[in-house]
Symmetry: C2
Subunit: 405 residues, 2 copies
C-alpha cells in the first residue's frame, strides 16, 4: 500500500522561485516512489514582513481580522507557485487554501487554534495521483472568516494534516540539519541529536531553541505523530521527535540552552498573605509580559522575597505594574538586575538519574560562574547567571554531560 | 431608507498605501451620509504583473487553476488594507473574498463567468453599519476552486454586486474623468459624454476605448444597473452608462474610435461553396486569432474574394492557417496589407437618422483618405483606411459629427 508522507517547507526553503523549483524536485523523488504526498508551505522568505509593513503604512493598530486576511495571502502565493513548479516537471499537483480543506479554527484571529480538518479534498487529490499542496498558517472560523495560527503556525498545520491523514511521520524541512544539543553557532562542539522526546523538545522550544514551535510539538504528542526535523538543503536524515517509549536509552541531558537579554526582578518584603503573588503575576500577564523563572523564599518575619525573570525589554512596563501595586505588595525597594541569562539543561533521563542538578551546579562552580536563581522541573534545570558568563556556562554544562563529539 | 451604493476602485486608485487612504476618505463621506456602501477593489497597481512574473519564473505554461490561485491574492491584499484604512479613520469595515460571499462561477479558470452571489454576508455587514469591501476579479466554482473573471473582471464583480443588492447605480472609479467622444490623448477636441447607452458603450468597449470591459456592460444591461464611470481624483460626476430609453436626445454619433496596428488579409478566388468561410474562420479562432471586419464580395464566375482584418501581430499565424487550407480554399495568391487602421463611428441615433454613413465617407473623402473596406452594424460604421491617415481621419469624423467642444 502507498505510504502517506507529509512534508512542511518553511519560508527560507521557498525563499525564491529557484528554491521553489528545488523543493519541487525533492517532492518529485517521493512522489515517484508511489507514495501519497501532502506538502505544507509557508510564505516565501520575507513576504510576511513585507505585508506587515504595508499594514503598518496604513495604521499602527490594524484589526486582527483584516491582518489575517492580509497575511494569509503569503502562503497562498507559495502553494500556487509550488504546484506550478511540480506540474512543470511532470508531477500532477493541486494547491489548497485553509478554506478549501476546511481547516476549522476558533475565531481567535492571529493566534487561532485548530478544531478540525476535512481530509476529503486531500484524499481526492491522492486518488487522482496528485500531490496535495496546502497553505500553512491559515484556517477559517465557523463564519468562514480567515484566521491565522500565530508563530510556528505552518509547523502546526503540517502536524495537524499528518494527524488527520494518519501519517506516521511529519517531515519539517528547515535550514538547519536537525535539533542540536545546544546552539551550534555558539558552541562548536554541539552535536545533532538522532532522537529527542516530545517533552524534551517542548522544553527546548519554550526555551527558544527555535527549530519547532511548542504548539506543533504538543499536537504531535497528542496524536502520536513522529516529527522529523531535517534540512531542505541535503538528503541526510535529521532529528526524530518521538514519544519517550520509543527511545531506548534515555539521556540524562539531551540539550542545553541559553536565553540572553533577560532581567531579574526582586521584590523584597512582600507581605506573606494569600493571593498576593496571584495578583502580581495576573497584572503582569495582563500587559503581555512573559515571566519565566519564579522563585519565592520561605517567609520570615511575615514577609517573603519574590524574584522572577522577564525579558529585558519588558523592564519599563514591569516597573509601572509594580508601582501600581506597591501599596498592597511590599514595603521594600524594587531591585532590578538587567544583565542576566538563563541556562537550562533538559533531559527525560533526569527523572531516573540522581545528581543531575548537582553535576550542573558543579560544572558552573568550576568555571567560577555565580548562580543567582535556580528553578527545576521534572526534566529541566534552569540557572540564572550573569549574562557575561553565559557562553562559558553553556560550554561547561554541555561538556559536563558529555554532549560534545 | 438608506440608499445602497456600490463603488469600484481600480488598480491605479489603490496603487499604494497613500492612495488607499485617499480612497478610504472618499468612502467615509458616503458612509457618513448614512448609506449602505459596498466597495469592490482591484489589486494594487502592478501587483498582478509582479505575480505573473513570479509564475513565469517557474514555468512558461502554468496550470490555469494555479494561476487563479496565485492572482486572486492581489485583490485579497487590497481589500484587507482598505478595510484597515477605513477602520483607522473610524469607519467600521469588513473585507470579503470571493469565497466568503459565494461568488459562484463556472469552472473556466482565468475567464470564469459569474453564476450567482450570496448577499447574506454583505447584508449582515450593512446591518452592523459596516462598509463591505469585496475582492474584485475572483470567485469560486462549485468545487470551491478559486477562479478569476479575466480582463475587466473587477468591473464585472462590481456590476454583479450592484445587481445582487438591487443598487440603482454602480460607480466605477478610474483614472479618467469619464467616457469621451474619442481618445482625448490623440484628439484634443474630444469631449466627455454625460450619458451613453449600454449598446454604444459595448461597441466602444469592443473597439478598445478601454474604460469599461464589455462583460461588465452586458451584465449591467441585463440587470438594468446604471454604471457611473468617474474619476477617483476629484468629485465631479463622470459619464452615466444607461439604457436607451433613459436618454431623451439620441446622438447620431456618440463616439469615434481608432484601432491601429491592424492588418488586412485578402484571399482572392475563393470557391463559392457552402462551408468554406466557416472552415476558414473556425481555423483562425482555434488559434485565438480575433478577426474584426469581414467583407465578402458577391460571387462572380463561381469564386469570391474574402477580406478580413486581424491584429498585425497575428499575421504570421494567419499565413500558416491559410497555407494549411490552401487546397480547399482558393487558387489565388494571398494578399496582406499590414499597415492599416480601423475607424469606427458609434451611435444609437444611427438607427433613426439616415445618411450617417454617407456623412462619414464624405468627411474622409474631403481629407483625401482612401477607404479600403467598409462594414456596418445597426449602431456602428467602420472604415478600414491606411494607418498613416488614421489621426487625420478620426479628427475629420469627430468634427463632421459635431462632437468637439
Amino acid at each position: 500500500m502507498a505510504k502517506t508522507i507529509v512534508q512542511k517547507y518553511g519560508g527560507t526553503s521557498v525563499g525564491d522561485t529557484t528554491k521553489i523549483k528545488n523543493v519541487a524536485n525533492r517532492i518529485k523523488s517521493y512522489f515517484d516512489n508511489g507514495d501519497n504526498v501532502a506538502v505544507v508551505v509557508s510564505a516565501m522568505g520575507h513576504t510576511t514582513d513585507i505585508l506587515v509593513d504595508l499594514a503598518e503604512q496604513i495604521t499602527d493598530n490594524p484589526p486582527k481580522r483584516e491582518l489575517d486576511m492580509l497575511l494569509s495571502t503569503g502562503e497562498q502565493v507559495s502553494v500556487a507557485l509550488l504546484a506550478m513548479a511540480l506540474e512543470s516537471i511532470g508531477v500532477p499537483a493541486k494547491s489548497f487554501t485553509g478554506f478549501q480543506i476546511k481547516m476549522m479554527t476558533d475565531g481567535n484571529h492571529s493566534n487561532a487554534k485548530i478544531d478540525s480538518i476535512d481530509r476529503t479534498r486531500i484524499d481526492h487529490a491522492f486518488s487522482e495521483r496528485k500531490v496535495a499542496i496546502i497553505a500553512g498558517f491559515q484556517g477559517i472560523d465557523k463564519d468562514e472568516n480567515i484566521t491565522t495560527l500565530g508563530r510556528g503556525g505552518s509547523d502546526t498545520t503540517a502536524v495537524a494534516i499528518a494527524a488527520a491523514l494518519g501519517a506516521d511521520e511529519c517531515e519539517i524541512y528547515t535550514d538547519v540539519n536537525g535539533v542540536y544539543t545546544t546552539d551550534p553557532n555558539k558552541v562548536p562542539e554541539a552535536k545533532m541529536l538522532d532522537q529527542i522526546t516530545y517533552e524534551e523538545m517542548l522544553e527546548l522550544a519554550s526555551l527558544g531553541a527555535g527549530v519547532l514551535h511548542s504548539r506543533s510539538v504538543e499536537l504531535a504528542m497528542n496524536y502520536g505523530v513522529t516529527i522529523h526535523v531535517r534540512s531542505s538543503f541535503h538528503r541526510e536524515p535529521g532529528t526524530l521527535v518521538v514519544s519517550e517509549d520509543k527511545i531506548m536509552e534515555k539521556m540524562k541531558v539531551s540539550g542545553v540552552t541559553v536565553k540572553n537579554d533577560q532581567a531579574r526582578v526582586t521584590i523584597p518584603d512582600v507581605k506573606d498573605q494569600p493571593g498576593i503573588a496571584a495578583e502580581l503575576f495576573t497584572a503582569l500577564s495582563a500587559k503581555d509580559i512573559i515571566v519565566d523563572v519564579i522563585v519565592q523564599s520561605s517567609p520570615r518575619d511575615g514577609v517573603n522575597t519574590i524574584s522572577f525573570t522577564i525579558s529585558k525589554k519588558d523592564v519599563p512596563t514591569t516597573k509601572l505594574v509594580i508601582e501600581d501595586l506597591k501599596k498592597k505588595l511590599s514595603s521594600g525597594a524594587l531591585e532590578i538586575d538587567d544583565d542576566i541569562a538563563i541556562l537550562s539543561a533538559v533531559g527525560v533521563g533526569m527523572k531516573s538519574h540522581v545528581g543531575v542538578a548537582a553535576q550542573m551546579f558543579q560544572a558552573l562552580a568550576t568555571e567560577g560562574v555565580n548562580i543567582l536563581m535556580i528553578s527545576t522541573s521534572e526534566i529541566k534545570i534552569s540557572c540564572v547567571i550573569p549574562q557575561s558568563k553565559s557562553k562559558q556556562g553553556v560550554q561547561a554544562i554541555h561538556s559536563a554531560f558529555g554532549l560534545g563529539n
